[in-house]
Amino acid sequence: MPLAQGQALVPGLTVISATPERDAEALEEAAAWCLRYAPLTAPDSPNGLWIDATGCTHLFGGEAATLADIVKRLGRSGITSRAAIADTPGASWATARYGTDPITSVPPAEAAEALRPLPVAALRLDAETITGLRRLGFERVGQLLDAPRAPFALRFGQLVIRRIDQAPGSVSEPIEPIAPPNLVSSRLAFPEPLLTPEALSHVIARLTALVCGELERRGEGARRLDLIFERIDRTEQAICIGTARPNRTLGHLGRLLDEQLERVDPGLGIEAMRLAVPLAEPIGFAQPRVSLIGDENTGADVSVLVDRLVNRLGAPKVYRAAPVESDVPERSVRRVGPLSPLAGARWPKNLPRPARLLRPPQPIETLAMLPDHPPAQFVWRRHRHRIRHADGPERIGGEWWVSDRERSAVRDYWQVEDVDGRRFWLFRSGDSVDPATGDLRWFLHGFF
């Protein structure tokens, strides 16, 4: 009905203009996203996606699991969907749109059977043909499949016949896949297989030069690089590196790859090498910082240094420390990434903290008067330390929001100096007044 009539029927009707071009683009993007499930995907306007998942479903745990994963992930982006998988495209199209369950997996060789109970509209025919068929009394696909075919060709044209043939798979129907986004990659094959690290290094330099040139043409920098070695015995070895910021410097990327070279086993020889960039990001041209005040530290250097360290040690081993708002000392520090933005947060001043912290705190034997006196001496690792001066107590309470056991736990910390001048951080668990706060054992927690 025309819009004016609709607005007359329902006062306050919300009207949103349709944008078919934007919808088509979004559908293309969804088809490109589905490349994670299979290499051949295509959009099926106005509201569907084709995925040729031959041989790919085992990677996601089976057909039903793959479909459930697709529907779930699309659901997270706010798209409700129905999915079906079958031997033939026609059967899957029909089952997805007209089947009873939102997720159906049609067993192999049963495509025709699955189509039988579905309405005639499930055969991808145009509206006129469908109305004509229904007027003739054909409601279900099963009736069409059983009836003689010649009268259909006369009445409705070849399309009906073709669809009836495609349904059980007697006629094949390939989909036109979209082209995957083209990634930068270059490959070099050698007339003779290479074995020595020097030769491989040389080839790495050449490949990196080619890839960096292409990245520069596109204005992008690499975030991940995959270097694949193809051996003579048809197996492949790969090394992967990553950078913290998009980078296309030849020296830096080449050196990162060279460092990982020792992990590669060349076997009897390497006949080709391929360098691909699975993740690239646009790189902005940064104006070089020119300043007469020469004490600006160059932030760019640190990201290069961090890349080298992370690729050598692994990302969890390179970090900065950041304060956590917690009184308990072992929880007051957390690790953040080395290039995270500077927060400028600091620990509370005037609270002395030791340079080395023992994890866990070590029990010690002491002689101390309760409740507020530091120990006169303590024994740790069979050494007796006599205490000359002490400072404290600093009372640190447990955090009831972290664990129930800590609800009333209390530690009294003392910073002590022994007769040799060494300083230690001791604590007594419990305030000696309420037995629920601790059992009055003494521990050594750190060294000053």
Partner: protein, 260 residues
């Protein structure tokens, strides 16, 4: 007379060419002073040379934990601009202590190496990037002459100061007397501090910690030893007030046979 002048000129030219050849030229390079005239006076150039390798050890039983060495290094680096790379063998460092001497948490990048060889690799890696304030490495075990020379060369080329904190399970480890290519070698030992209030010694509390700071070896200078108060929250050392007026503020000891 002319011959005297000629000889003097030749000697001056020879000294200049020796200085040009290598290490002594660094004395004219940049330094960071300790702020204590007694210490700065003994160092060539009036302070700790930047862009060079320095070794720091803790004396006494603290050699295992290296706490005093760590505080001294942190105090030096707190006063230099830029980021610091700290290479660890074991993750037992507690970051709030560094914050307490002025080396804020944002400035330090930690790298856990796991063993001594990787610590040296990481230090060299860090020394190739000019723009860092300094590179600190905690090392147990031997620091060979070749390894230390590589670190020294890398530090010279980039101008990044390199500090090696040497730790060991054994007291007076013989490994620490081996020669290395470090520009200076320090040993820091905790000594008993007096009471917090001199007029009321029974008052509970702790005074500022005290160290005996030994310059064990210095290229272009003589070994010496001082009693100082530990680094404060700005990273500075200072001479204790009760010794400042005494006759022996700097105990210079000529130790010929001291290691390295």
């Amino acid at each position: 007379m002319e011959q005297g002048h000629g000889t003097a000129a030749k000697l001056a030219a020879l000294r200049a060419s020796i200085a040009r050849i290598g290490q002594l030229a660094k004395a004219a390079g940049s330094v960071i002073s300790f702020g204590v005239p007694a210490i700065d006076g003994c160092l060539p150039g009036g302070g700790l040379a930047l862009g060079a390798l320095h070794e720091v050890t803790s004396g006494g039983p603290d050699i295992e934990h290296g706490v005093a060495a760590m505080m001294l290094s942190a105090g030096i680096l707190a006063r230099l601009p830029g980021q610091v790379l700290w290479a660890l063998e074991r993750p037992d460092l507690f970051a709030p202590a560094l914050d307490g001497v002025g080396l804020q948490a944002d400035r330090v990048i930690y790298a856990e190496a796991g063993n001594a060889a990787t610590v040296l690799l990481i230090m060299e890696e860090g020394l190739r990037h000019a723009g860092l304030a300094g590179v600190v490495g905690e090392l147990s075990g031997n620091l060979s002459l070749t390894a230390s020379r590589r670190l020294q060369l890398a530090a010279e080329q980039s101008g990044v100061t390199c500090l090696v904190l040497r730790r060991s399970r054994r007291h007076d480890d013989a490994l620490f007397s081996e020669p290395t290519a470090a520009a200076t070698r320090w040993r820091v030992t905790a000594v008993p501090a007096p009471a917090m209030l001199t007029h009321a010694p029974e008052t509970p509390g702790l005074a500022r910690p005290r160290w005996r700071l030994d310059l064990v070896r210095c290229r272009g200078g003589e070994p010496a030893s001082w009693i100082v108060e530990a680094t404060d929250e700005t990273g500075h050392l200072c001479v204790p007030a009760d010794l400042a007026d005494g006759p022996a503020t700097a105990l210079s000891q000529r130790r010929r046979a001291v290691g390295g």
